[in-house]
Symmetry: C2
Subunit: 321 residues, 2 copies
Amino acid sequence: MHSYKELVALFEQYHSKQKFDERYDVYRAMKYIMGMSSKRVRPVLTLMGCELFGGDYKSAMASAFALEVYHNSTLVHDDIMDKATTRRGNPTVHKRYGVNVAINTGDMMFTEAYKYLGKANHASTNELFEIFNTSVIKIVKGQSLDMEFESRDDVSEQEYLEMIDGKTSVLLACALQIGALLAGADKKSQKLIFDFGLNLGISFQILDDYLDAFGDPKLVGKRPGGDILMNKKTILFIKALELASPKQKQQIEKLLMEKDKNKKVTTMYALMEQTGAKEYTEKLIDKYYKKSLKNLKSITVTEERKQPLLELAQLLRAREK
Amino acid sequence: MHSYKELVALFEQYHSKQKFDERYDVYRAMKYIMGMSSKRVRPVLTLMGCELFGGDYKSAMASAFALEVYHNSTLVHDDIMDKATTRRGNPTVHKRYGVNVAINTGDMMFTEAYKYLGKANHASTNELFEIFNTSVIKIVKGQSLDMEFESRDDVSEQEYLEMIDGKTSVLLACALQIGALLAGADKKSQKLIFDFGLNLGISFQILDDYLDAFGDPKLVGKRPGGDILMNKKTILFIKALELASPKQKQQIEKLLMEKDKNKKVTTMYALMEQTGAKEYTEKLIDKYYKKSLKNLKSITVTEERKQPLLELAQLLRAREK
């Protein structure tokens, strides 16, 4: 068994050995984004999912790499859609190589992900592809909803949860389940580890939205209120609107058009507190976090084996409020 | 065994029964492009490849559908990259739904293709995915080269062939091989049918370029000379430059900047004839066509079984000069 740090190092070792034909711009662009600093959460989850059930991490390494390549392919395409200019402090792929190369790079990386999944050389390859395909479809649906929400003011909590489910949680869950599958875990255990990843991912994503508004800028690493300025339909916004009195509702709707950035952010903060949306969101983060711990607890392996995943969960939860 | 026409009808029957969740824009966009009129060459090739080796076409139908969905996903992304506004007489997906939805739709269709490939429910699923992955990687490389050629005047014949290999031929070859695999054809036969598709595809693509310059506009269905006006690095252009005398070479290079459309096209026609590029291209089309027929001939099944593929090859070759 290995710690998070050790698994990242083992992953980077494998990563550095993979060679791609850099005569093609798509592979140069792939190398560029894959080389950006990253926490490597998804591949590590695959390796942890494998070790949790007594598997050899080596047997899951190609799949772990597949997950990271796929994740990065979504970043390349999402950055085009979001017109993002920087990613992890570097120019985004489409800023550096142009939109056409970026579209093509995402497509190439998507295929490379499938190629690496096929390397698992495991009796259950079909199941592996099925888990992955089902997850990818949810991810694209999540992206579709996220874009649709931009032009809507009536997003429900359930729709929001479906969206973040796809955008973040499903791939974490999928990464864990693939590791478990490769270690030979039974269906029930696979479901439990999937749910652990899903609930932890939901908790993490809601916390992310929460910190964007109420986080300590020194600890979060960015100026707070970005989501508010962009009128993003986060759970804080959705709940504030839902719990608001008719008068508060009018205030929120007026704020959507407010040009004074400072006024917009501070008034929205106050409304999120007054309506109870802030408190509701705090509880929701805890609810999903506790759900995830319950999932992990139900898995019938020794407590010792669960330690790395438990530590990872605590790490993700403990980010500064 | 079935004719081309019959297989198209069977494919459309299957197609019409597939249901997708149209609450999502990506599935509405998928339905839109999949519903455009199309010759359905790729899925029919999968079905023909299966029947050639005595397989039941039904066992290859999900894969045939996967090939068509994948092909259409590349059209969605390619149309964005080419800034194309119409496709088969209709607005392109990104024109109708916006670039973001189009990027996301291509990604979704790509995954759906893998999902349908996974439905083959065949002992050789791993091989099937490998054939498909290898082909897709060549296709993306072909697209990468095609874009790169736009800014280069020194494209070689070999590079051009690698590019059209990826852009057109590989998927035709892949479609046939997957059908053959599903019918239980041995490796040698799979290689032959793959090569048949590859060579036929190359011949077809060169003919396509040839007709763009020298085709009868009434029969080709578009105004000739489009590639010349766009300075496209077709084999006609590459060969004209290669075979040109120093004086002709100067003329060609000057023509690249020529603003008078009529002059540009007619002068280039003359140069393509004078340099021998036109004749060379005609011979090249025949060379690859004959190669493909030789591949088909080498396959050890009855001549009767080969009939539908032979007819298809003749049909593709016999387009109006």
